[in-house]
Subunit: 348 residues, 2 copies
Amino acid sequence: MSNKHRRSPIDLNDGVVELAHGAGGSAMTMLISEIFYPAFNNDLLLQQNDQAIFNVDTGKLAFATDSFVVSPLFFPGGNIGSLAVNGTINDIALGGATPLYLSASFILEEGFPLKKLVIIAKTMGACAHAAGVKIITGDTKVVERGKADGVFITTTGIGVIRNQTVLSANQIMPGDCVILSGEIGDHGVAILSKRENLNFETNIISDQAALHELIQLILEVGGDHIRVMRDPTRGGLASALNELAEKSDVGFVINENKIPINSSVAAACEFLGLDPLYVANEGKLIAVVAPSAAADVLTAMRSHPLGYQAEIIGVAIEDSRFFVQMITRIGGRRIIDHLSGELLPRIC
Amino acid sequence: MSNKHRRSPIDLNDGVVELAHGAGGSAMTMLISEIFYPAFNNDLLLQQNDQAIFNVDTGKLAFATDSFVVSPLFFPGGNIGSLAVNGTINDIALGGATPLYLSASFILEEGFPLKKLVIIAKTMGACAHAAGVKIITGDTKVVERGKADGVFITTTGIGVIRNQTVLSANQIMPGDCVILSGEIGDHGVAILSKRENLNFETNIISDQAALHELIQLILEVGGDHIRVMRDPTRGGLASALNELAEKSDVGFVINENKIPINSSVAAACEFLGLDPLYVANEGKLIAVVAPSAAADVLTAMRSHPLGYQAEIIGVAIEDSRFFVQMITRIGGRRIIDHLSGELLPRIC
């Protein structure tokens, strides 16, 4: 009479995502318990309620979300899973918070190989573990073939804010220094090198990384002298600086000579007709710091593996037009404008 | 020299989503500031940082996420936006928490009409406002035409738990009563009535609703006698009961005569060859309650507009096989099994 145990097994090697895996029944339970629970393994997730419940030691929290639609899903230096975990960890940490928990929601295309989903899930679990963060709740939806592109992942993070420093995009003052943590453009170029319609060879790998430790170090050393931090992802360094300029009613002058860039990235950008200032990064940050603390913060950043190439690339100035200006290598000045249109779709 | 003000305006009437709207530059800023900020209008969102920061009055929190891929996007009784807000509010509230904040992340297909996006965003803002919840952070990605299906939305919620009652799927005991808040199947049938490949007429509208007030009422009246609550969404009442049975190592006996169902829904299900026990609901809940409190909880539920049709539909029993049995209208018994495959893709 019973068919409690009649559930079809799931073939993690040769199976593919089916519509039934999103239907709320036993196929979905199987998918979750065979792929996501082992990969994200932690006590809160394994309570298997529709919400995760936890206690935090302070009531001041940071909350951030990002959807990831990167194409291709696997690229030199990472995959959509590492990006989804590290990207949201970074957004939480950039608010001055210690990231604690993530949710992960998957939109899967019918026909997507389970083997690839397993790799993505394991990568997410490993990245979360490495960062001391737990993926404690989630969701899985499946759409018909041709209605999505393999896998889209949305991660949302919660962190607690224990330090007193208030970070905000609107408190930059003229004279503040802009510190960039390392070379720009690696992520964008690594993704483009794997796009089917492009054909170039490079040894560049994505810089995707969890920046929370570097951020904590910056806050410890800089304290209230840190005005704001940003990760220059979509739209690159240029977009991040323009956004900060407008929010703080200042301008910036940056020095092209000081902006770290790998020569292979520079060459690839030239080949592709891209300005590396607009190319996405996934493991870099800019910190805007009061001038009195800039040297100490720079030294501290350079002591960390994710900041060893840090440079003070420029300063904030009074400018009622909120321009970002760059002193070029040959000594001229040019305006670094907003990215006005599309540069690189689906870079993250 | 400047082109700070050269941004092309956004045409909310006749414009469509373009890849540039996801590129991290000024087109994206425009989309967010013209559509999402006015629709979700609140102080935390308008700080425009990459994360929202807030204080809560207790450190016991509930956290839940859901992606919404419903097709069609607009249906009788709601749209993907109302579903995305109310669905996550419900997941938070079902954990015994007061929902406070949501994040909203959008994956948009190139070419999607902005006019529709405006309606969806306004609906989300209105639903959040009605529930006393704020949408405080978000993300927007755009994928190429044919790589998504209009709009996918992922919402994640945070709530605070102020009451002492511990709700969990694993604490049901034999003898506990199962209370269902109202008629089943409305949401699923409303969606199906608008599917292009089906052709039937019905006056059924989705039951989608925010259940947090009803849930709070149940907790106030039932206190520690409330074991667990669930919303029978994907997979319907049958899947929710099976899941609870397995997590608590009990069986259930439910009474078909007691299960509220609208006659039009019953007729549509018969026409479509669907068992309404497996059809999705988006504004119903089941509460499993100790027998001593069941009558009071039922009375309280019936006093609320979202619970006026509530019924005690069955009881938990000892059963080492964890079966859900139903006494049918004609007095027989049948096993209500897990949904094993796909029933209705993209119902939420």
